[in-house]
Symmetry: C2
DNA sequence: GCGGTGCCTGTAATCGATTACATCAAGCTT
DNA sequence: AAGCTTGATGTAATCGATTACAGGCACCGC
C-alpha cells in the first residue's frame, strides 16, 4: 500500500541497468553513454528517486555537514554570522547543524559526540568558553575533525580562527572619544573570563594609558554583553560622584541598555554622556540617538569561517596548518557621541 | 600510522565478544550480562570508540535530525524561535539543521532534496512563501516526511502549524489606540502576499470597522517588516496632509524605524504620534521610548513546533492528523503610546 | 587473424552499525 | 529424565549507496 521510497535498485531495474551504472549516471555522468544516461534519468523521474544521503555518507565517509556551536542562539548578534556560515556552506554543498552550547543537552556529552559520530565533517565554534577537554580529547592524531573558531576563541589553543582585532577596535573607540575632548572615559565590559571581554578591556586600557588619560577602576563597569547589563551599568554610572563624560560599551546591546536607562532617568545622550558601542548590530543605526559604534563584518566572519573550514575539510586533512584570519573593524560615527563641553556633564 | 577511528568491530575484538553484543551493550544494556557489559564498556574506553551515527541512521532509517527552513536567518526575530526549536530538539535527542530559504543553494533544488534524502526526519517551516510544489510533490502517501509550519504558513495547505492569533493581536493593538482616544489610526504593513501581512491587515481593518473609525487607504503604508521599511513609512507619513495620530506597525523593527526617522525629523513619539509594534523583540523594551507592542512568545513557538514535529516523527507517521495550535499574544503597554490630545498632532 | 586499446557496463565488496533468528547452557517442571 | 523456559550470545542479513575490479565488445593496426 504505502510504497516505500524508491532506492537505487528500483531505478536500476526500471532502467534495465545495474546499480553501479545508475550511481555513475548520477555522480559522474560523463562516463556513461548518452543513451544509458537518458534511460537512467528517465527511470529516476518515473520512480521519483532521490539519493539517500545517509547511505552515500556512510560509504564515502563524509557527511557534507558542518556544525556550528553557538553560545546563545537567542542573541541576535549571531544571526548574521549564522547567515554567513549558511551562505558559504550552501554554496559548497554543505548543510549546517546548529547547537546551542548553553542548552542542557539530552546526552550530557552529546555535544562532544557530534565530533566523533561522523554526524559532521567539521566544526565552527563561536564559544570561547567551551571546556578545552571537549576538544582536547580529540588530540589523537588523525582523529580530530577540522575545527575553526570564530569571533571568540580559546587562548593558546592550536585551532584556526577567524576573528576581528578587538584591541584595535577598542583603541579606535577610545581615541575617538579622546579626540572629542573627553578625558574621563569609562568602559562597560563583557562577562568575566571571556576573551572578548579581556581583549577589549586591554585594548581600552592600553589606549587610555597611551593617551595619558586617567584610568579609574570604578569607571570599568561589569556587564555580560546583554541589554540588561547595560541598564545595570547605567545605574552604576548614576551612583558615581565623579562620572565619566564618555563610555565605551563592549557591545551595542549594552550601549542601548545604557542609553535607555539614562534616558529614563532624564539624562540624554550625547548631551550628558557620549556613548560608543561595539558590533554595529542592525538596530544601532536606528537607535535614538543612532549609535556610534565599532562595525564588525558579521556576515563576512561567518562566510570566512565556513570557507576556511570547508577548505580544510576538502583538503583531506593533510594540511595541519593553523591559520588566523583577522578581519578589520572600523568606527562608524553616528549621533551618540559629541564633543565634550557642548552642554556636557557638570564638572566638579 | 594515523590509525583510523575505531569501529564496533575493534571494540568487539578488544572485548572478546561479537559486534552484536557490543551493539546491545550500548543501546540496550539490560539484555547483556553485567560482566559482559563491563568488558564492553572497558573496551569502548580503551579504544576510544564512538558510535558512527551515519551507519546507525542508515540501518534504522531515521536520522535523529530535523531541519528548519528560515526565510531570513539575518533577521533577529528568528533567533529566539530557533533557540526554542534547538532546546526542544536537544531534549529529545534530535539535532537541528538550518536552511535559509532565501539563499541561493548550490543545488537548485537542494532544499527540496533535504526532504527526500533522508537527511532529516522532519521539517519545521518558518517561511509561508515557499512554493507549494516543493512540498506538494511529496503528496505521494507514505513518502511525505512530517512537516510543521510555525509563525507563517501556507493558506489552505494540509499541514500542521503553530501560530499566533494575528487578527486578535492586531485588534488588540487597534483597540488600545482607540481607547486612548485616537480616531485616525494608520497601519504599516508587511510584504505583499505574506500571510502575516494579510492577517494583520485584516485584523486591523476589521477592528477599525468594528469601532466605526475612519479607514483611509493612504494610512495603510506598505512595508516588509524591516527596519528600513519603517523608515520609509515614516517618510510617507510626513508627506500626508491629514496624518494619523497613531500608527500600528506590523513588526517591531518597522516601529523602531518609523520612530527613529520621525525623531530625526523633529517629531516625537508618543507626543506627536502614538506607535504600537508587533513581536516584542528584545530591543523593544529598551527602545526610546520603550515600545508598546504585541508580545509573541517566540521561544515557546519554537519549542511547541519542535515538540509537535518530534511527536509526529516518533509516532511512526501513523497519525495523519493535522493539528493547528494557536498561541495567544498580549499587549505590552510601554511608552510609545499616549492619550490623544496631550500635545497631539495638529488637527486640521 | 591476433593482440591491443578504449569505452561502457556489471559483479561484488564495502562503509559501520542494528537486529531477526539460531544456538546453547543452565535451571525448572512434572 | 525428558522437555520446556529463560537468558546470553553469536551468525549473518540488512540498510542504500559507491567503487575497485573484471569483463565484453568494437575497432584498430600490423
Amino acid at each position: 500500500m504505502d510504497k516505500k521510497t524508491p532506492n537505487i535498485q528500483d531505478v536500476a531495474r526500471e532502467a534495465g541497468v545495474s546499480t553501479a551504472t545508475v550511481s555513475r549516471a548520477i555522480s559522474n555522468p560523463s562516463v556513461v553513454s548518452a543513451a544509458t544516461r537518458e534511460a537512467v534519468l528517465e527511470a529516476i523521474r518515473s520512480t521519483g528517486y532521490h539519493t539517500n544521503m545517509v547511505a552515500r555518507n556512510l560509504r564515502q565517509r563524509r557527511t557534507g555537514a558542518i556544525v556550528v556551536l553557538v553560545p546563545n542562539l537567542g542573541n541576535p548578534f549571531f544571526s548574521r554570522i549564522l547567515a554567513g556560515v549558511e551562505q558559504a556552506a550552501a554554496q559548497a554543498g554543505f548543510s549546517v547543524l546548529i547547537v546551542d552550547t548553553k542548552q542542557p543537552h539530552a546526552n550530557e556529552n552529546q555535544l562532544f559526540t557530534y565530533l566523533h559520530s561522523a554526524r559532521a565533517d567539521g566544526l565552527i565554534v563561536l564559544d570561547g568558553s567551551l571546556p578545552l577537554e571537549f576538544l582536547g580529547e580529540m588530540d589523537a592524531p588523525g582523529r580530530m575533525p577540522p575545527i575553526v573558531f570564530a569571533c571568540e576563541w580559546i587562548a593558546d589553543s592550536p585551532f584556526s580562527k577567524v576573528v576581528i582585532d578587538n584591541e584595535a577596535g577598542s583603541a579606535t573607540a577610545v581615541r575617538h572619544l579622546h579626540e572629542l575632548g573627553h578625558r574621563r572615559i569609562g568602559h562597560v565590559m563583557g562577562p568575566p573570563g571571556n576573551v572578548l571581554t579581556e581583549t577589549r578591556r586591554e585594548g581600552t586600557r592600553a589606549a587610555l594609558a597611551d593617551l595619558g588619560v586617567e584610568i579609574a577602576p570604578e569607571w570599568f563597569f561589569s556587564g555580560d554583553f546583554s541589554l540588561h547589563s547595560g541598564v545595570e551599568a547605567a545605574r552604576q554610572w548614576l551612583t558615581l560622584k565623579r562620572r565619566p563624560s564618555a563610555v565605551f560599551c563592549a557591545s551595542d546591546q549594552m550601549a542601548c541598555g545604557f542609553i535607555s536607562e539614562l534616558s529614563m532617568e532624564g539624562y540624554s545622550v550625547p548631551d550628558d554622556v557620549s556613548v560608543v558601542g561595539f558590533d554595529d548590530i542592525d538596530i544601532a543605526q536606528r537607535f535614538i540617538p543612532p549609535l556610534t559604534t565599532i562595525h564588525q563584518p558579521r556576515t563576512q566572519i561567518g562566510t570566512t569561517a565556513a570557507k576556511a573550514l570547508i577548505e580544510r575539510i576538502n583538503s583531506e586533512g593533510r594540511e595541519r596548518t593553523i591559520a588566523h584570519q583577522v578581519l578589520t573593524v572600523e568606527l562608524v560615527e553616528r549621533k551618540s557621541t559629541a564633543p565634550l563641553g557642548q552642554s556636557a556633564v557638570k564638572q566638579d
